[in-house]
Amino acid sequence: MTTSTTMPRGARYRFSWIGMIGFAIILFWAIIAFLAPHIIPYPVGEIVDEDYFGPMSSKLLLGSDYLGRDMLSRIIMGARYTVGISLAAVCLACFSGAAFGMAAAVIGGWFDTILSRFLDALNSIPSKLSGLVIAAAVGSSLPVLIIMLGVIYIPGAYRFARSLAVNVNTMDYITVARTRGEGIPYVVFSEILPNIIGPLLADFGIRFVFIVLLLSGLSFLGLGVQPPYADWGALVHENIGGLPFGAPAVIVPSLAIASLTISVNLLIDNLPKKIRDRSA
């Protein structure tokens, strides 16, 4: 029970309304992605419009694409790939990055030096470039994309978690735990992790945005999600021919990406200080 605290719960975690809007839009896309196959008005592969790059109408709410397929259905299904792949990749990046980062801070010595040196070097390869090189080498099936996006962002997550953990590692209660004879896994997960979980979650969100942007960029170049699947970046790629006509098929997927990434940024910028701050 939380009634023992003197302050009402709402006063401790107050979300600003801008953060709430951000959260609502993220939730909206999450539900869309989850329910996608049940709410699409037309099957994604079916040609429903005799015209290509059709305008918005009451029959096709967001117009039609370069083959005359329903754009709304394709965007709803695209949410699955954009949100799903990015979420899987960000989990991979943040979980392994944070685990290694905390372990490096606790273990220290050679382990820390070599791992930091190596991952910092990898961090100095621009993310789009790594994407291109890996896509050229091993292609871009869905599992490869997830692993690739995750691996590209491990060094960043590692660096962030390590810098937080190094500060916590100097605290007295860590010394106490070590003196007590606790092993490294215990110190990492029971002593350090609870103290840095807030900033780590904020970092999770920021890295999610980076991954959505990178995935969309690669798909836009035609090197990300491959047909017959299409994420939002791939939708822009395949409909780029409609740009001179200002077709909704080019504009709407871009807007979908922007709405997701801006919402995540808004939510994180407006998180209560208690969660976001490093000192928390």
Binding site: I125, L129, D269
Partner: protein, 316 residues
């Protein structure tokens, strides 16, 4: 300059060299794990085993990967970028002219982006908390949060579809007049300037605000200096280092941006060459382009670090 500063800078350069070695190692092995045998891919399914074996020997494919890496790296150091798999032309020849094109694009963008961002960043910091500051901040966050191709497509929609000022996605090769050159470069430069400036404005604003918070600026304001005077005369000279650092760091965003922009506007630079190389799986070409980009990126980041060291009077 003291020996201590020289030591710090040598240290930075040394660590950049080590980083570059690790990066080239990573690039080489990422491309070397390509499934399938390169010689078989090159010669096709119909090749005789003898021909494949001959090609393997000629390309040193039988050697251990580490020796191939060393051979490749020494070649690079001597300016030998290898031979393209696809059209059997030395990669250096393919890259040559296109490298100049990319550098020209980057140079023009820098010329526009730096003054624009410094003005917006410093004024936003000066009037911190005002409506102007909030508008600038929201716009920069907006630009940072959307993919580069969205900025490019929006620019096309605005300038060529609705306003009809500029041609849409085409890079004309016949360039006769200055006016045409302007038209060709306008769209890529506008897009890249947006991408780079957003980062630069944010970092410049943060750097100036950091300096404004220091006790001596507070003292200047208490002394009776106007807000403008306190920022321009007292804070700015001390923020030169962090600002130069911010400029170099934001310019490194050119690397990602240029890949998208050259592709969408069909601009004949090395990024476009590399993206085409990825679709044809032309490994020597991809490796060389990747290394060139990494060198450029590392050079900018190291330059930013060195500037930060030089600008800090406590170290100097």
């Amino acid at each position: 300059m003291s020996t201590y500063v020289l030591g710090l800078i040598t240290n930075r350069l040394g660590s950049a060299a080590l980083t570059l070695l690790i990066v080239s190692f990573a690039v080489f092995f990422a491309t070397a794990m390509l499934p399938g045998d390169t010689a078989t891919i090159l010669l096709g399914q119909a090749a005789t085993p003898e021909a494949v074996a001959g090609l393997r020997a000629a390309m040193h494919l039988d050697e251990p990967a580490f020796f191939r890496f060393a051979r490749w790296l020494f070649g690079l150091l001597q300016g030998d970028f290898g031979t393209s798999y696809v059209n059997n032309v030395p990669v250096a020849e393919l890259i040559g002219a296109r490298f100049v094109n990319t550098m020209r694009l980057a140079g023009i963008v820098t010329l526009f982006a730096v003054p624009l961002s410094l003005t917006l960043g410093i004024t936003a910091a000066m009037f911190r908390g005002s409506v102007y500051d909030r508008v600038v901040t929201i716009l920069t966050i907006g630009v940072i949060s959307v993919p580069e191709f969205m900025i490019a497509t929006s620019a096309v929609l605005l300038f060529s579809v609705y306003l009809k000022w500029l041609p849409a996605l085409s890079f004309a090769t016949d360039v006769d007049s200055f006016w045409q050159v302007l038209k060709i470069y306008a769209m890529p430069v506008i897009t890249l300037t947006f991408v780079v400036s957003a980062q630069m404005i944010r970092m410049t604003r943060a750097a100036v605000i950091d300096t404004i918070k220091t006790p001596y600026v507070e003292a200047a304001i208490l002394k009776g200096a106007s807000r403008r005077r306190a920022v321009l005369i007292h804070a700015l000279p001390n923020a030169v280092g962090p600002i130069a650092n911010a400029i170099a760091l934001s310019l490194s965003y050119l690397v990602g941006g240029v890949i998208i922009v050259e592709t969408i506007f069909n601009y004949p630079g090395i990024a476009k060459l590399m993206v085409d190389g990825v679709s044809t799986r032309d490994l020597p070409l991809i490796q060389s382009c990747a290394i060139i980009f990494c060198v450029g990126y590392l050079a900018l980041i190291t330059f930013a670090d060195v500037v930060a060291i030089l600008a800090n009077p406590r170290v100097r």
